[in-house]
Assembly symmetry: C2
Homo-oligomer: 202 residues x 2
């Protein structure tokens, strides 16, 4: 057990060490870095964290993080409101936005079904997705969840929930990554990439 020369220091280190992926050595380095910064820089840091926690909103439509009740994507009239892409979290929204290939709306579940972690369908924004689809404006739901057992389970659950609605369902393509060599791709992925082959554009 490390002995800290100061209880204030130890407290700050403990708080940093609660963050994911940050151990006590890194935490100490971060706190000592903080001590070297100016008062105003440290205030800016702790204010930014307090503010984001207190004032952040979640979009009432898609549950993405937002400064306003309706997020900029849902509020954007130029986007296609008939297509909704279902994702796990806001990092996934940002990742898809960065591709610039999708111009519809999103629905952020807030996780995937994972009984091991105590996350059932009721912990996720699935009912609100069903309500959105029930309104009748949505023509296609794209499931863009992780290619894991939990992701697949959630995709299956959602597809059953939406089965009674007149809405097209699709799943993002599984296949070999762009830039990857065939021989190093695992066999399940390779098998999927053959099954889901796409016709060549002539």
């Amino acid at each position: 057990m490390d002995r800290y020369p100061s209880s204030l220091l130890e407290k700050a280190v403990s708080e940093f060490a609660k963050l994911p992926g940050i151990g006590r050595k890194t935490a100490l380095r971060l706190v000592l870095f903080m001590l070297k910064r100016s008062d105003s820089e440290v205030d800016a840091f702790s204010d930014a964290i307090s503010h984001v926690k207190k004032d952040i909103k979640y979009c009432k439509i898609c549950h993405n993080i937002s400064d306003t009740d309706i997020c900029p994507i849902c509020a954007d009239g130029h986007r296609d409101g008939q297509v909704v892409c279902v994702v796990e979290n806001i990092q996934d929204v940002m990742a898809i936005e960065n591709t610039q290939q999708f111009h519809g709306l999103y629905h952020v579940l807030g996780g995937v079904i994972s009984p091991m972690d105590g996350i059932g369908p009721n912990e996720l924004e699935i009912e609100s997705l069903v309500s959105r689809v029930a309104e009748g404006n949505i023509k296609e739901v794209i499931l863009a969840l992780s290619s894991t057992m939990e992701g697949d389970t959630t995709s299956f659950y959602i597809s059953r929930k939406l089965a009674s609605f007149n809405v097209r369902m699709s799943v993002i393509a599984r296949g070999i990554s762009v830039g990857n060599e065939l021989e190093y791709t695992d066999e399940v992925t390779l098998g999927r990439s053959i099954l889901n082959r796409t016709p060549l554009q002539k």
Copy 2:
């Protein structure tokens, strides 16, 4: 460039990304983790950081971090006030304390001489070390600086500064690490370990 759905989120991510070793992706993960925590947990985090910055003191004797004007080590009457170990920063104090092999006092320089980074002798607590030695109570000064060019330069500078005083000077041993195999030790270290060999205890 990532597009954040919220300016509050972007601000918090930018603040986290200013910390050493934390990129924007990690920063986003940390902020989203913060959002999942309770209000009181987030307050505890930002309070701990504000407090450590505002209320931390530096020991008036050894310049170690402390809650009080004199740090617990300097205030401890059981420690040997005749031996002072000169270190670069407080992590080094903690590392040496963890060995439980040293029972003297410390002197924290706050860095090493590094002209490339604009750090000269005047930026470090060298004058205050000279003053401590000039008081006449110190019998031995142990230089425990990093085994780098900057560390060696600083050791040399300090040894010259203290040359006129009647004080024993020593440098911590350089040699092969405990548990390391000889054949994988670099030749400079191995050479030093032979030069500085210690007599076997019979």
